[in-house]
Symmetry: C2
Subunit: 320 residues, 2 copies
């Protein structure tokens, strides 16, 4: 039994941190230990909330205020960041703990930044495994946060029970800028900064998004009134309880009508297939395979062989 297992399931944040570092490692012996640890984890009960929002929308402040509110209600909150841009630059400059200073010092909260220098596929696996670790450590709510770019939202939606989109008050033109695919993923749209001078604009934006959501195809996993748009102010702390009430109501409905478990089952199948593909392609990453690929690549470039024939040679070699 792994030495991390007992302290982890007792809720030790230190053990949780070390376990996440373990699953992020690419060293073969670490990986083997990580797989064994993951297989021995007890089931958790956490709600997984995916959250996306473009930079400047106030996502850190929202998570800080929202997370603090939930911990005050007795919940244990984990925040996992999925930021492919930070993987490119080798980590965010300020770091997530600086962004969420109050929450990071809260004993009922746990914040883990995006790992640096990982590929999107690696980020996906690492995040799913980190979710399992947080659940085993007794967290009630896991916020999986991503920036509003490209594939990372799809990835987060594929591992979350709910998907929340945090947007800024905006004119009708800017509303068009939210991609249809992202809108279709959202269960709840929160229009932040609904305070002070921006309150009327925020209310209008909520109405605009509500209208846009009504135009989307009705999904089986949505009760009446969902997906919905709501105004919030992370700074003033308004609308957060209402948003949480809606998240809980939606979750309760989905649990009751079997959609919650069905979605998790579908997601598990999706990740199973993704891991098989990743694992198969990983056979090209061993030192021996790389050497051989490089050598055959040189032959192909020199015109000594054609791509198809060289590929066949490589595939035959991989079979042995």
């Amino acid at each position: 039994m792994d030495e991390l297992l007992t302290p982890l399931t007792q809720g030790s944040r230190r053990a949780l941190s070390r376990a996440i570092t373990l699953i992020e490692s690419t060293r073969a012996d670490h990986r083997e230990r990580a797989v064994a640890l993951l297989a021995s984890l007890p089931d958790g009960h956490a709600l997984r909330i995916g959250m996306s929002g473009t930079p400047g929308v106030g996502k850190s402040t929202f998570i800080e205020t929202f997370g603090t509110m939930l911990t005050e209600q007795g919940l244990k909150v984990a925040v996992l960041a999925v930021d492919p841009s930070s993987t490119r630059s080798g980590g965010s400059i300020l770091g997530d703990k600086t962004r969420m200073e109050t929450l990071s010092r809260n004993p009922k909260a746990f914040i883990r930044p995006s790992p640096s220098r990982a590929e999107l596929g690696g980020v996906a696996r690492r995040t799913r495994e980190a979710i399992r670790l947080c659940e085993a450590a007794g967290f009630d709510l896991i916020l999986i946060e991503t920036v509003g770019v490209g594939q990372s939202e799809t990835l987060v939606a594929e591992m979350a029970d709910l998907f929340v989109l945090l947007l800024a008050p905006a004119g009708g033109d800017e509303l068009q800028g939210v991609k249809r695919g992202i809108m279709e993923m959202a269960d709840i749209i929160l229009v932040n900064k609904a305070d002070g001078d921006l309150l009327p604009t925020a209310r209008r934006t909520v109405a605009d998004y509500a209208g846009a959501l009504r135009l989307l195809r009705k999904r089986p996993q949505d009760p009446d009134g969902f997906p919905k748009a709501l105004p919030v102010s992370a700074v003033a702390g308004t609308g957060l309880q209402e948003a949480w009430d809606d998240m809980q109501a939606l979750t309760a409905w989905r649990r009751e009508y079997g959609h919650f478990e069905a979605t998790r089952a579908r997601q598990a199948q999706h990740w199973f297939l993704a891991e098989v593909r990743t694992g198969l392609l990983a056979r090209l990453e061993t030192p021996e395979a790389r050497d051989r690929l490089e050598q055959l690549g040189r032959d192909v470039a020199a015109g000594d062989t054609v791509p198809g024939a060289a590929a066949k040679q490589m595939l035959d070699w991989l079979k042995t």
Copy 2:
């Protein structure tokens, strides 16, 4: 020796058609025969020109006029279409031969539509193999035509010696609509419909694109003055010779300074790696592998096992 080889290398269009049908087949015995045939092909000398243009820009008319002009100069011209949308709809409604009626009856020309019901990866392999067949059949110029959407342009650029972008006369705003990535691929931008009332607009559009091209990073494979923008009229037949002169000048320069061969070598390496990846993932497509994936997927969905453990089981099974 394959019975198609001799007639193919003697330039039989019927043999060429049958050989392309052979490489498009997914039947295992056909595939084996195709690989053997491809390995026995003599080298060709054709220039490969990738061409993209959004619907309505007059691409078919351009290829018809341009191709006819080149055949009149004694060249043998093959046109291969790469249209992922036709693969989705199961073939274009009218078909490429209807689109290019004159050229399709020209004995010095050969037109082959996009295969229906193939995935983009399959289209890539099929098109590269069709290029090799056309070259072995003695064609001098191979136009690889694609529609202006998504990944198909990147794919075509990766198999062409030159990439030509055919655009319509447009205002400054529409110019912004051409994605930067597509602009960066272009060696020559042709603004079509430079005739009649549209001539002044077309000239202004050429100047606009020329300005935009000057703002792009200088590439080592470009001599002075390239990439460039030119006005053409497929309907009036004007500008086509100038465009062809430029294509030849650019090709001659690239040959002289080693860029032509270097690009082909890099492309061959790219396709070698792509084929290795595709071939590896094809191991998941056998009936036995599909059965096993389905069964493990059910276990994962039922919660009897976790995605990582099921993936490991599948990968171990694939190894045996």
